[in-house]
Amino acid sequence: MPIDRKGSAEVTLPSDTEILITRKFDAPAELLFDVWTTPEHVRNWWGWETDQMKVCEIDLRVGGRYRFVAGDGERDVAFGGVYQEIDRPRRLVSTEVYEPYPESESVNTLTLEENDGVTTMTILVRHRSKEARDATIASGMESGLQHSLDRVDVIVAGELENA
């Protein structure tokens, strides 16, 4: 019986320009690295629940580009970037741009650390400015709200009760 890790990703803000995402997986780092960097795999998990992945191109070498496009038929979202550092299966550094907003470019560092068959993934997203970072989080909030009108935030509810 596998451990249920659903919803266990954590987002923290280590500085004014950074976002850090952390999550554990019951899989070897090698497999995770492959699934993260091979189009046949990426098509199976990247994107959004309701969307089809229309483009998934990966040229995995330093200076090589990637481009992901997902869409629900009405609106497409396109991300792309360039690989800067490849250290399989521990570390991958790449730029990331949300294409409609070139100023949104960030440098993302993926790290995979395997311990007893459990791999801890961290994604450090580093923006050029606090404004760009905040815009990225705000865009997440907008789509998050669309999908979660009936959401109850247990943590905040608990804090409010104790206030």
Partner: protein, 111 residues
């Protein structure tokens, strides 16, 4: 009458790194100014100034205890900021949960 805290006020108040450090300390519980000064490399007048800003936007509350003032967080005012990050976190959770499920299927097939 306390001034109503707007979202913009609270967001601006936490944009300052020292003020975030103070908020981090207050997460652990109520504190006096001197106990905050003992933890971070900032002078007492500076800490008092930051606390005043945080109090104005409603992020912290103060009460008197004998001769000292004690400060604590107001979670209601923190809620918009909390939600802001939480929704982004939800987005990543959906994606990484899908990745997790996919990895599980891949490894099951291999066995």
């Amino acid at each position: 009458m306390a001034r109503a805290a707007t979202t913009a006020d609270a967001f601006n108040a936490v944009a300052e790194p020292r003020r975030r450090q103070i908020l981090d300390l207050l997460v652990e519980g109520e504190r006096s100014v001197s106990s905050i000064v003992a933890e971070i490399p900032v002078s007492q007048p500076q800490v008092s100034k930051h606390l005043k800003v945080l109090k104005e936007v409603g992020l912290v509350r103060a009460r008197s205890d004998g001769r000292q003032r004690l400060y604590r967080l107001d979670p209601v005012a923190l809620k918009p900021i909390h939600d802001w990050v939480k929704d982004y976190e939800r987005l990543w959770n959906e994606r990484l949960d899908r990745l997790d499920g996919y990895l599980y299927e891949l490894q099951r097939k291999d066995q």
